[in-house]
Symmetry: C2
Subunit: 128 residues, 2 copies
């Protein structure tokens, strides 16, 4: 995926949402941030095994589209911590509905944790 702001295929809001986060990885990074993961190595350690080049691309893309922001926490070498913006936190209902759907319809998958299903976007970010 191109790391710049996407070209929107139509004015349809669903299509627009998919232009921004319609891939297999972006929402997993958002999920990790809902669990207070913040650093590059945290995301790499998730069980799906995101490749480093895809992680770098998606972090850049999520930043450009205003879903996450990054903050320097170390200068030698440069290291960043990532967190959700309000726009990013507001993806939580999408994540919850996707998890509910998979749990209902895909026998292979696990149970969504209760804390996750009852979480609120406003509790995921300071200054919501």
């Amino acid at each position: 995926m191109n790391a710049n702001i996407p070209n929107y295929r139509s004015e349809c809001p669903l299509s627009t949402a998919l232009d921004v986060i319609g891939d297999k990885w972006s929402l997993l990074i958002v999920r990790d941030m809902c669990m207070n993961k913040a650093r590059y190595g945290d995301f790499l350690s998730s069980p799906e095994g995101i490749p480093t080049n895809i992680l770098a691309n998606r972090l850049r893309r999520l930043e450009v589209t205003g879903i996450i922001h990054k903050k320097l926490y170390q200068t030698k070498p440069l290291r960043y911590e990532y967190s959700l913006t309000t726009k990013g936190a507001n993806l939580l209902p999408v994540l919850q509905q996707l998890a509910i759907w998979a749990h209902q319809h895909v026998p292979e998958c696990g149970v969504p944790p209760e804390w996750f299903l009852s979480a609120k976007p406003e509790n995921l970010v300071k200054n919501y």
Copy 2:
């Protein structure tokens, strides 16, 4: 995307959902079916301009994963109509949350229609 049943990257229900429908096109076909589009040409005529090879791949994939089913309506040449299963109709809350999110956060996009936001999965399929 491979048109067979996906390999699941983890037991996480969100990850599992994205293994099934985590791409830019699958949910647009589900959206079209929510609007009673049923035939190959109907999907091709949507404003996003899905390429024919991607449409064929995604219809096959949605069928293999039990989200849609197809019914023959013409034999010479073979032509099919597609419709949502219960599993497919239950993606509606995901679509609704994605549309609400884009409408709230992406200024370029249009307003989700009221009928869409108030639609219910059980009204999208016979024998729900």
